[in-house]
């Protein structure tokens, strides 16, 4: 069997290694992100959460996942 190639991306400032053919939905699922409580940016552009399964990730992509925390 052919070995799956890995690529490196950045999620919330941390470098992660993912399978080359993964889409955004899969990556978020693996991180157990509760989609209804977050917003997602890919390379500083806001992503429509309904379309994440169609978004392919590339080497050096930067993902930001944010949510609400306590603040004044």
């Amino acid at each position: 069997m052919k070995k799956i190639k890995k690529i490196k991306i950045k999620i919330n400032g941390k470098i992660k290694s993912i399978n080359q053919d993964s889409n955004l939905s899969l990556v978020l699922k693996n991180l157990k992100i509760p989609l209804n409580k977050v917003a997602i940016e890919l390379n500083e552009e806001i992503i429509d959460k309904k379309k994440i399964s169609k978004i392919k990730l590339n080497k050096n992509d930067k993902i930001e996942i944010v949510h609400f925390i306590g603040g004044g």
């Binding site: 917003a39 996942i65 609400f68």
Partner: protein, 260 residues
Amino acid sequence: MVNLKKDSLIIANKKFNSRLIVGTGKYKSMSECAKAIKLSGAEIVTVAVRRVNISDKNKPLLMDYIDPKKITYLPNTAGCFNSKEALRTLRLAREIGGWKLVKLEVLGDKKNLFPDMIETLKSTEVLAKEGFKVMVYCNDDPLMAKRLENSGADAIMPLAAPIGSGLGIQNKINIQIIRKQTKLPLIIDAGLGQASDAAIAMELGCDGVLVNTAIAKAKKPFEMALAFKNAVIAGRQSFKSGRIDKILMGNPSSPSKGII
């Protein structure tokens, strides 16, 4: 009996019964925060937008403690020092679940935490055009408050004193001038230290107050939450009741006729 129930606070066409807005930061725990909010009677709470902790997936989430269906979340831009950062933060906040009512706060100095009013004005204009309902943290400057109003702000929120300082309202005259010139909701945001500060704000004619540190960092946050709730109601009631004129000399409360 004065019916305060009919005296609602209206922000961007939404009605609220409580005139106390509270922050959700600086509490010892999420459960302490949730209980304090309940006791305060607040219907709007400010929240910050931050990165999800992807390495600790079991970390408690604010939304699990404070139900956004019951309490209005007011996303803020705390920690933003320019318009670009503030816009990015609020666009993300809207994306989390359709939040349009937001608190804009663009800071200009890391020590005194005063707002950068030039960046704040720029951001207000853009946000209003994008359909946001913007409640704006600002200086207690009547001219800037007017400009914000003209830029599409939905509420003017001047500071009482620096954020977290607990100094209380430092410039009552400016607050009164802003009150006179605007029909927009006027909410004192930042710098209150104790419940009486909130009552004073309400007596000056403000529509509400926003408090975080004074409750969260009080020795007894639950009791202080209740104290602020009562102070806001008392202050509002006092304002609506029409205070007496001030005079220099004494005026006896008992009749001077019939003294034996």
